[in-house]
Point group: C2
Chain length 271, copies 2
Amino acid sequence: MLRFLVNGREAEHVAADDRGLAYGDGLFETMLARGGRIALWPRHFARLAAGCQRLRLPAPDRSLLEREVAKLTAGWKECVVRLTITRGPGAAGYRVEAARPATRILAAREVPRVPRRVDEAGIAVAISDVRLGEQPLLAGIKHLNRLEQVLARTIDPDAPELLMLDAAGRIVGASAANAFLMVGGELVTPAVERCGVAGVARAVLVERLGAITRDVPVAQLESATEVFLSNAVRGIVPVASIGDRRYGVGPAALAARAALDSEGFEPPRVE
Amino acid sequence: MLRFLVNGREAEHVAADDRGLAYGDGLFETMLARGGRIALWPRHFARLAAGCQRLRLPAPDRSLLEREVAKLTAGWKECVVRLTITRGPGAAGYRVEAARPATRILAAREVPRVPRRVDEAGIAVAISDVRLGEQPLLAGIKHLNRLEQVLARTIDPDAPELLMLDAAGRIVGASAANAFLMVGGELVTPAVERCGVAGVARAVLVERLGAITRDVPVAQLESATEVFLSNAVRGIVPVASIGDRRYGVGPAALAARAALDSEGFEPPRVE
């Protein structure tokens, strides 16, 4: 089941010349909603606003979004909400025509089920052959130019998740999550200044657990004692294995779950 | 004026969960149509098909597209046609669900006017501060992930065109055109294996004029005796200046126009 609000109205369509479609000219947030409220909402909105500033888009009105989320999710106990902001219609060239109204799309869908074994034992992660390109001007924000991730997933459709590296062999993150490693007794997560997305769950762990953001060469998977992924819908997903290397669910993943819990994030129900 | 065919039907909208909008998951061609026929059509279709192969999208039916172009452009003497192909609806994750029908959007709009002085004297080009990231898996094809170009244009809205470099300071092309330089008596155009788009007008000049594709450090603008841009709608646009450096309209640009003419390309009317 799927439900949309486009610019505040129930609608299932957007203009065929929307710049989001023409050029990927916009941003999105994928969020977990419960009882009409978005988990980690202040962090989602802050990242969206930072992305708008980077792309020179007007930031949407926060209280308007909150009212629309309440309207969209009315009647759902829990759901995934995707918010997309684009530069609006007008795609006769890359140049931005002044005073175009942005497009605001809210979509709600059911929360994917999390099998108990995933929650308890973690997932097997493969390393994608798709290396992420470096673009500091777009790194960190959650923009709509996601062909690298689509390509990775198209080449490897069956892996539960994919670890993605940059051209120099540094870990950037998973295709749709951030990655954390326990290395030498420290919790580290890759820097996202050259590529990758600065996840909102990741921000919680950096702030609350003091996780260190730095370059993480892929070879450090060998010495890592624990690896897990963070995602604002799924929460913390332990990594059971990457290729031949095996990991267990350890204290770092449990501390990460507690950190998210302390900001009111309750993960999807396990089945 | 603007007119659309979406999956063959007159419509001005696409599904709000189209993957073209969600992830920039698709390709496009911007083409010049006259009397219901697309200039350089075999080359446009070949590039589109190559892009589909790269993105693992099914290639659209060529004769279907030809019939739709004829229907779309009926009544227009000349127009710009943008063809967009996306992986279709279904944006609950990067993973591609099997057997989704692609989305096919044809849009026609009026041809922008070309002032006589542009045609005769060329344009002033600025060098963008936005450096293009390297992604060999996406280089050359005309995919929908165009935030770098949008950002360049947003930062520099007033320059007639922008020259774009990669992180190493090599020329890649203009924001919406390929670049050609006369250097040491040779016609050269930047290689597009790491970033950039392999334009269809560019391909004509490489084949018919023997233009050399290679790395072109930005410093070679100093020794260039002539610089021009190629674009499948505008044709050949001479460059009058880049920053302080001035150029004239020379024999290479005229030869390039003749090469396009020999493939039936007639540029937009000058006014």
